[in-house]
Symmetry: C2
DNA sequence: ATATTTTTGCGTATTATTAACACCAACTAT
DNA sequence: ATAGTTGGTGTTAATAATACGCAAAAATAT
């Protein structure tokens, strides 16, 4: 059987997708990486992703690859850049369509040390395959720019959360500190969250101090504020 | 000679680039289109663009194609989306990396009615080839979102311009009206422009009313404000 | 138990930014 | 000249951002 069965008049690059999956453990931003099982870069860590098939779009491709490699179907994916350096893959010319995704860490299996998918803190990244370090850096930059004028959290926080938790998320992404009381006022009067009487984290498992109230996102208000330029979280 | 000389183990999509080139004539936003000289969609208007070669990145590709089709080398291009619908090109599977660009209309030859490159007002678009109508719509949406938190104008206005001209640009892009006097204050105290004693449009060619002052962009301040989230132009 | 520490929630004074509008200046057309 | 039109400056009121003071609630220490 001929192994070179697909022929074209002009040379073609391969199209692939890669995704920077961000999670939040309540303290720090984490990134989901998978260990490569084949050459090239076998044994190194990489962003989940893979080659596009002829019967799928790039969006469908990255969702399929994420599911295959991390057993997870993300709700939010955003395409943010294309990487097309000529020698970025040693096998052949590969153009990668890059995405980022925000997920609740608890929803992704990973974590198991023996597994080939694991969360890494941004400050403790291993060496990455291909140009994935560059892709990750650009993904993080895009996320940081976006957080200024779009509410973020819905996809990273649990269904029920506290305002101090949400503040820690913003501070972790932006690398700054907010005034507790002003953050609270701002987020409350934006209307994206409202108080909930349903469960908050186990009372005993908390730190010292007063138990914070439990909140949940108003999905309608939240969605309406995406991209309309009216939400602001300065630094 | 074999016309199918490039063979691969797996099927490959072709990679192409397309660019929505925006211009401003002092009154309305215009878009630069080229008339297709070959099938498919021969004779229809399309966004400038074409297939990527093996020795160039997508950025280099779109710059080359723009130069070939419109005799213009743009200073600013931004990659904003990828279009990968399976049947978007009748010839073969094509994944298009989409860009937008902002140019001074005067710098682009086009314009000649007989030529195959022409400016069109957004309200008077012809039928477009492929999915280019969709690409253009998304480009415009991206531009409108970006204008909220990035200064825009440097690439669309002439070197010397007046504040009322700049206001008309913002109003044309956003489709809203600003208060003349507040717009002026806001743009001036942002520091992105400063007064110039050099030429403004010929005094006789103006409308009735007082002759406006001439301004020019402070390139350093302008660049610094891109993407730092500090520039705001609300509506 | 009681005091101490920690953290949350609410309020208030100060400052900065936005928004609305009155008024004068400069130019054109008649 | 006079009316009509457009550009530039200033003033004020409403709104939002910022910086804290202080008490309530819950865990920890004694």
């Amino acid at each position: 059987m001929n192994r070179q069965q697909y022929a074209y008049e002009y040379p073609h690059a391969a199209v692939a997708t890669d995704c920077a999956v961000f999670g939040f453990d309540g303290q720090n931003i984490k990134i989901l990486l998978v260990k490569r099982g084949i050459e090239p870069y076998k044994g190194l860590w990489a962003l989940p992703g893979g080659f596009m098939r002829m019967n799928e779009t790039t969006d469908e491709c990255i969702r399929r690859e994420l599911h295959e490699e991390t057993s997870f179907l993300p709700s939010v994916i955003e395409q943010f850049a294309v990487f097309s350096a000529i020698d970025r893959d040693p096998r052949e010319r590969v153009v990668s369509v890059a995405y980022y995704s925000l997920v609740r860490q608890s929803e992704v299996v990973g974590g198991d040390d023996a597994s080939d998918a694991r969360w890494f803190a941004l400050g403790a990244l291993p060496d990455l395959a291909f140009d994935h370090k560059e892709i990750l850096a650009k993904a993080l930059q895009t996320l940081r720019e976006k957080i200024h004028f779009e509410p973020i959290g819905f996809d990273l926080m649990d269904r029920y959360f506290t305002i101090p938790d949400l503040q820690r998320l913003y501070e972790a992404i932006l690398g700054v500190r907010f005034d507790r009381r002003n953050f609270m006022k701002k987020i409350l009067q934006s209307g994206v969250i409202s108080e909930s009487n349903e469960g908050v984290a186990a009372p005993a498992s908390r730190h010292a101090g007063r138990t914070p109230k439990s909140y949940t996102f108003n999905k309608d208000v939240y969605e309406a504020m995406k991209g309309n330029g009216r939400f602001k979280m300065e630094f």
